[in-house]
């Protein structure tokens, strides 16, 4: 029994210490919704993201107040009324690359990837699956993905007067350039 435990620990230590990690603190995430009355678009260029190419773990942390809107009022309502940034300042994604074996991180090229994990927005966690691409170059990895997100799943309610004005599903796009961590 002790040998097993020892074995597991060695495995874990080996797993983490030799893992290749990539990091970005200036990733871009935008969301877009096209409702009949109002087009809503927001951009965030200060997204934290980390990738472990050995285990396939992929994590993202988003400061909600860093989202920039075209209209200052929309930004205020987003933070104050919808995502309640004072109570829930960050959104998180913790996931894993499902098809890790299809991606050769040492060979430059464009690889399609499927990532599965848990998304936490507005304090509520839901499973999310997204398809995207990893563009691997000598200097880093560009992670891009586009996927829909139902905001109602995250306890973000839209008042009756605004239904129809704001879409209940938004499209998320990511454009994150990760650099190897030394």
């Amino acid at each position: 029994m002790k040998k097993i435990i020892l074995f597991v620990f060695i495995l874990l230590i080996a797993n983490t210490s030799f893992a290749q990690r990539y990091l970005s603190k200036t990733g871009s995430i935008s969301f877009y919704s096209d409702a009949p009355l109002e087009k809503i678009e927001a951009q965030n260029h200060q997204v934290n993201c980390a990738l472990d190419t050995k285990s396939g773990f992929f994590v993202v942390k988003i400061l909600m107040r860093s989202f920039i809107f075209e209209k200052a009022l929309m930004q205020e309502h987003f933070n104050e009324d919808y995502v309640e940034s004072d109570k829930f300042p960050n959104a998180f994604f913790k996931g894993k690359i499902v098809n890790l074996k299809d991606i050769n991180f040492s060979k430059p090229g464009i690889y399609s990837a499927v990532i599965e994990g848990q998304m936490t927005i507005h304090g509520i966690t839901r499973p999310v699956k997204a398809k995207g691409t990893f563009t691997i170059s000598k200097n880093g990895i560009l992670a891009r993905a586009k996927f829909p997100l139902k905001i109602g799943n995250y306890g973000i309610s839209i008042p009756d007067v605004l239904t129809g004005k704001i879409a209940t599903e938004v499209e998320i796009s990511t454009n994150i350039y990760l650099k190897p961590l030394k």
Partner: protein, 296 residues
């Protein structure tokens, strides 16, 4: 024993996975940031007086402010609805901390130009600031025709000035309060019994009922004794509804004037006698200049 061993290993591996993800998260290691308090009030005014809020950079606010007559004038005047005082105004955010505005109100046929400058912003996090402080200044030009042609009447007689320091604190999501020390200077006043310089202390606040509606109230206490002896302190209380780019305010007040120079030292209505009028503001925000991320 074997089963327990497998279970044990699986549990360790599973927690190890979570641990590894959190471990990745710890790479972010963000320095503490200053978070500035936003949206202490829904719009640039509490009811009649200015609030701590400025329009965002590049945003233009169009405001229609309308006062009816006193409701205690009875059915003959349709409870004040036959009379009207109106102001149309524009407010523009040159930067996030500087607002300029112009307006024209029918009360005294007054044109006004104003500016609001943010001095301190309430914040938490790295830099903690308990209150927000702004300066608001307004110049009014009364353009009523001269009644008594026998006396010399200079242009400067028409000028009125308002200086205010706005000190506000958003206590929580629902409650924001503001103190507004004010100095009004009028170059010409009607009688020697009235002060040219009128000091007043304003207090106001809002209580958010739902995310999009609030109760807002405002009181100006006259400190200058001569003015206080002849006029009443202004008190207004209203209900705000915000729908995206619009804010609607409906309120009751004892003040006929709409700009600070007129309503703070010149309110003739007495709440206790029912000299109360109904007023409303409609504001609409337009984006004239988009943030750089959205320029094509």
């Amino acid at each position: 024993m074997k089963k327990i061993g497998t279970f044990f290993i699986l549990t360790i591996l599973f927690t190890a996975q979570l641990f590894a993800q959190d471990n990745l998260m710890s790479l972010f290691n963000e320095p503490p940031q200053t978070v500035y308090t936003e949206a202490s009030f829904k719009i640039t005014r509490i009811v009649l007086g200015q609030s701590i809020v400025n329009p965002g950079k590049g945003n233009l606010i169009f405001v229609i402010q309308h006062h009816f007559g006193y409701v205690n004038q009875g059915a003959y005047d349709f409870f004040g609805l036959d009379q009207a005082t109106i102001r149309l105004g524009f407010e523009y955010g040159i930067t996030n901390w500087l607002m300029i505005g112009v307006g024209r109100s029918s009360y005294g046929k007054t044109y006004d130009g104003n500016l609001k400058v943010k001095i301190l912003r309430q914040s938490t996090g790295k830099r903690v600031m308990p209150v927000s402080i702004s300066y608001f200044g307004s110049l009014g030009i009364n353009t009523l025709r001269q009644q008594d042609k026998t006396i010399d009447y200079y242009f400067t007689n028409r000028l009125t000035f308002l200086n205010q320091i706005l000190i506000a604190r958003k206590f929580n999501r629902r409650i924001s309060l503001q103190l507004t020390p004010s100095l009004i200077h009028r170059n010409l006043v009607a009688t020697p019994q009235i002060d040219n310089n009128t000091w007043a202390l304003g207090g106001g606040g809002r209580f958010l009922l739902t995310k999009h509606t609030s109760i807002d109230a405002e009181y100006f206490y006259l400190l200058s004794k001569k003015t206080a002896a002849n006029y009443h302190n202004s008190f207004s209380i209203g209900f705000n509804i915000e729908t995206g780019g619009h804010v609607f305010q409906v309120y009751v007040s004892n003040s006929q004037g709409i700009i600070g120079q007129n309503f703070i030292p010149g309110s003739i209505g007495d709440w206790l006698k029912g000299d109360v009028l109904i007023g409303f503001n409609i504001t609409r925000t337009f984006v004239l200049k988009k943030p750089k991320e959205f320029r094509k």
